[in-house]
């Protein structure tokens, strides 16, 4: 097998940046959202795995929330010579693992994570070119800095590339 570079793990409330030929992986996203940004010229890929939509004052963990993690991810990518203006986004996750659990009449946390992610990306002028969100299945995602392809694995479907 040819050497496809390293695979770097991104945990919950975590983010990472790699360059080609390396890849990023996040295991078993449930209601969390994986935000993948790619600069196809510099071949720099970034992945953020957020748990909650909106940050709380005083919480220093910026990587946990959609509104604070995305700007931080962009900053880290720029340090690797990516240009903010070339970044395109692919997002996955935001499932509702237990249908009807503790939702009342508000949207599920998965939906809110996806909504906030989209809102933040829009505000930053970053286009979402592919997404695989919602539903009720967990997803493992792998994002390749070589070509910007995002592979999505779940237990009930075949591996899908977007």
């Amino acid at each position: 097998m040819e050497n496809k570079g390293m695979i770097v793990k991104v945990g919950i409330a975590d983010l990472n940046v790699v360059t080609s030929p390396d890849s990023l992986i996040s295991y078993a996203l449930g209601s969390c959202v994986g935000i993948c940004l790619y600069d196809n010229l510099a071949k720099v890929a970034g992945m953020s795995h957020i748990l909650l939509p909106v940050s709380k004052p005083g919480d220093e963990n910026l990587m946990k929330y959609a509104d604070t993690a995305i700007p931080l991810l962009i900053k880290k990518m720029e340090e690797q010579k990516a240009s903010k203006f070339r970044l395109k986004a692919k997002i996955a996750g935001g499932a509702n693992m237990f249908q009807a659990f503790a939702t009342g009449n508000t949207a599920s946390i998965g939906d809110r994570n996806v909504e906030m992610t989209k809102e933040v990306l829009k505000k930053l002028g970053i286009q979402i070119i592919a997404e695989e969100t919602g539903g009720s299945t967990g997803r493992t995602i792998e994002f390749h800095a070589e070509d910007g392809i995002l592979s999505i694995k779940s237990l009930s479907h075949q591996i899908k590339e977007i």
Binding site: G11, A13, A28, L29, S31, L51, L52, G138, S154, L155
Partner: protein, 207 residues
Amino acid sequence: MEEFSLDDLNYEQFDTLVELGNIGIGNVATSLSTLLKKTINVSIPKVTTLDISEISDALGGAEKRVAGVLFAMSQDIEGMMLFILEEKFAGDIVNILFHSDTTSSFDNLDEISISTLKEVANIMAGTYLNAISKMTDFRIELSVPYFAVDMLGAIMDIPAIQFGEIGNKILLVEEKIFEGGEGFNSYLMFVPTLNSIKKILDKVDGK
């Protein structure tokens, strides 16, 4: 009022939580043995605090396919109970209760099997919380059971959210459940909110 955080927990408080888990799970083992007419053993409860980022690896394999039965707790104690069933154990429960040997994987779990697993989880969670109620004098109400079969890591997002709202660490009181001599990595998790943990500890310490 001083803000309580999981970092403040001392050894004695950990011991209190272990003891509480012990009482809960002891009762569960008895009721499950009676129900299944089989020897059910349980581990000593493990009380752990971990970083949210580590949670999906903590129970061995984020992508492992498991069944999760989730309950919300309300009234005096808030939070959730989560029962994680490994495939083999889930199949055995259904087979024993229906006197069959056909259910061997999650792929052939039908509606009745799912209701059965929910009900067994309901009995277990209820027994566990009854014991804790008796010891603490707190009233704890359980929601209906919610059921999912999926990746372990994805299911663990639910307790991660509860703690993520207030910090970066999670506290689990987990018990491993064995059927006969084999361990099947099924877990019963008692996951009170941070406020409720404080309440329980204060009560038990006689404050």
